[in-house]
Point group: C3
Chain length 247, copies 3
């Protein structure tokens, strides 16, 4: 199985071209669209969504990510294995949450199609590599002559309550899990403007109607949520904002 | 086959997580996205779209619906069989048009994944149940120890000309089929503002250019349509509006 | 494999109904969504996207297109073979770039479902024909009693630099390939307002930051692109606009 995440949106034929190329290589392959609606070039958001969803996929899924503001620059094109999953994409931090990897290699030259200008590496390089990995598993990783990249960008995964994603329901998902709050003290308080959050509710229904509160989301991360309302709008909070935390 | 309908939109990874979980359970399964663009919590609209499209699917399709404003509240989680099709989702009226059902049961506890807070029942409960139903057919329905819900909400299916859906072309689809208009009298007149409709056109091309008229749509329901124009905009009519009818 | 392109968008269940019907006919079939976001009735744009992407698909793919402003009028419903690919759709120019075809035929009557009004030919005619072609290959094309259409509209494919598509990144894709520019002279200049373009860059990274320039895109066509910016917005250029060209 291939899990595909891009910032291509669905208006153009770009995603379809990637899938068609994958199918040419691996006819029995299954592709699941994670999302194609990542804000343009937003590597951090995509990395976070990958961290959120990878555990729902079967072992040996190939995660193919094309959020690649530096397409064609000197950033490396990598493939690798980590936590029983494969990944293929640009070496720009996209897979940071899947690390530490067991294996990371540069995508070998024979896993790409030559086209004029090489402007569409999603189709001509990453899709080809992902489909081959999905079909042949780690034959490519085990092959000789491929050097490790060693250039992996790690995202800041320190437990600061940063808004990593705002979902379509308006829930603001934080870069913190409940266990992070209690490492130093039994009490905590997250603050944003005039709002204070010092309690974690087990689910949305535990909130009073229209109350904004801290909930453990489906990913295990904390979310600022409002029952039947858009929490991000009420709080005027955006992706990247960081809350104050006091233990 | 699984037909999937939600109000999740496609920006987040939520739909992908449901599909990944389904695939883990039933590797040979096929999922068709009905739509993920139901207005948030709009059970009535989703029920109508299910009624519209279910006949196009093969027998024994599992319709999995997650339009669930009361996620985690006391509303029941159900699975069942009706008209040769299966359905899985919250007990909130979503499958009302598929009734009367032959079998409706509560989803048994062993058909769910335990996660913190249980905030994502679409993935952890409904996707799991739908994939198992798709794989094993009605083994689960036939199994012992599952009580009938008996709490099924029925939508108003009386033949009043209510706008049940406005499609992307601006056609306003009514909750009425042509045969409903002629039950009491050979003549009828539907009225909306200054517009009167007393004739049913067989298809869009039978309308004059830019004329707004009553057409029998692809679903068998009546539609207010305009040739090459957005009828809903011309009529200033919205979902939920009800026309006057005179026989 | 079926490659599906429509102007239906994804809000309604229309695309799902087409796929469900296809699956009923050909259970092993795979459908790839090219896009459903073609502007309403924009045959020229869809034809261009088909030209752009068809080479990425495997041989014998069936391209099913429903961009059909004249649904149900006298325009013919056709199926055919060209360049090793099949195509199914309205006879309105949608497949013009795939020509000259080896075979084009009217879709035979037995390849359709009868419904009231026949308002949804995408589902009831084109999906049925496409799935049968995908399953049985050219049995239908070889069968007797089907007359050639002979009414194929060709798009203007003369090498004028017309904006055929603006992608989601804001790249304005022209109806010209690099080789078209040098047919008469070794030098050229494309002009749009105060902008002049007389050099072709091999890829996006060859542009200076924020520079708008002419790039050979992933399709082999020329694009007006800006690095990390929306070129179409900077240039105030729209689909259908034609640049001045001087050799």
């Amino acid at each position: 199985m291939i899990g595909l995440i891009t910032d291509f949106k669905l208006k153009d034929s770009y995603v379809a071209e990637m899938k068609a190329v994958m199918y040419c290589i691996h006819k029995q392959g299954v592709v699941i669209d994670i999302t194609h609606d990542i804000p343009f070039g937003d590597i951090e958001a995509a990395a976070f969504l990958l961290e959120r969803c990878w555990k729902s996929f079967p072992a040996e899924t190939v995660f193919c990510g094309v959020i690649d503001p530096g397409v064609g620059t000197s950033r490396k094109a990598i493939m690798g294995k980590s936590k029983g999953m494969y990944f293929v994409g640009p070496d720009n931090g996209l897979f940071s949450y899947l690390f530490p990897p067991q294996q990371v290699k540069l995508i070998p030259d024979h896993l790409s199609r030559k086209t004029p200008g090489n402007t569409f590496q999603g189709r001509d390089l990453f899709a080809v590599a992902a489909a081959n990995l999905d079909k042949q598993q780690d034959n490519f990783l085990n092959s000789q002559g491929i050097s490790y990249s060693g250039q992996l960008v790690k995202l800041n995964t320190a437990p600061v309550p940063k808004v990593m994603w705002i979902d379509n329901f308006g829930n603001a998902i934080l870069s913190m899990k409940p266990e992070h709050l209690f490492t130093n003290a039994p009490k905590f308080c997250l603050n944003w403007g005039n709002y204070s959050f010092s309690e974690i509710y087990p689910n949305y229904q535990a909130l009073a109607p229209h109350q904004v509160g801290l909930v453990t989301g489906g990913s295990g991360y904390l979310e600022l949520a409002a029952r039947d309302k858009c929490a991000a709008e009420i709080l005027k909070i955006n992706r990247g904002d960081i809350l104050d935390v006091r233990n």
